[in-house]
Symmetry: C2
Subunit: 116 residues, 2 copies
Amino acid sequence: MPKVSIEWVAELKRGSIQLCLLALLTQGSKYGLQIINELSEMSGGFFDLKEGTLYPALRRLEERGYLKSEWVERESGIPRRYYRITEKGKAVLTEATVVWKEMVQSAEGILRGVKK
Amino acid sequence: MPKVSIEWVAELKRGSIQLCLLALLTQGSKYGLQIINELSEMSGGFFDLKEGTLYPALRRLEERGYLKSEWVERESGIPRRYYRITEKGKAVLTEATVVWKEMVQSAEGILRGVKK
DNA sequence: CTATATACATAGTGATGCTATGTATTGTGC
DNA sequence: GCACAATACATAGCATCACTATGTATATAG
């Protein structure tokens, strides 16, 4: 059994990460490293985002008006930037979820036809 | 109900297309436009590849040794280039399918937690 | 002989996940 | 107190890949 290792794992995640970020933030406002940890936990380590992936993604989502962020000072510790989803973000999440399910169904239909 | 339209549909498909191409070609060797038509049919129009998407994708898969292609002359009509999956391609398909399912499960777990 | 369909091909663009690195503050062990 | 790690956010640069647009060639229909 040859070990092959696909090169395009990163490509498989593309787009889904934005979907997961919006979905996670419907649970309440969260800050960067918290998002990384919770996504990793909830996915059994599959979505293990690096800061270089997360922060640009959050920026994009905020630029599009899907998120709002604000700095929160603390008694002790470095200030944190909290992100929360907007109404527009919720609408887009609903829409994107539909498209995502279409994609999954389509791909599963094709994978079902695989001949060994 | 505001109409929003997500921008990143193309990103959602990324990676999945390569998976679907390999999966489809386990059914036998096929040529370009045939692949486009069959994928579109099997996915209810979701995977509606343009030539500019398909041919580079096939090239990449062939460069990596997952496909082999050959020209087939015909009695009448333009010659066609047929693609078939290699043993290496089948191994990668198996591996990629596992990763793909991990991704779907992970994302679904996160989507399940969505609060309206 | 023009128009349309078939068939493959590539150049260029844009989106985005990843690696690597940077900055600043806070907390901890000695 | 001082070095070192941990926390927290940030950005530059790269590679991948789906899409648009366009091009080439052959075949078929009227």
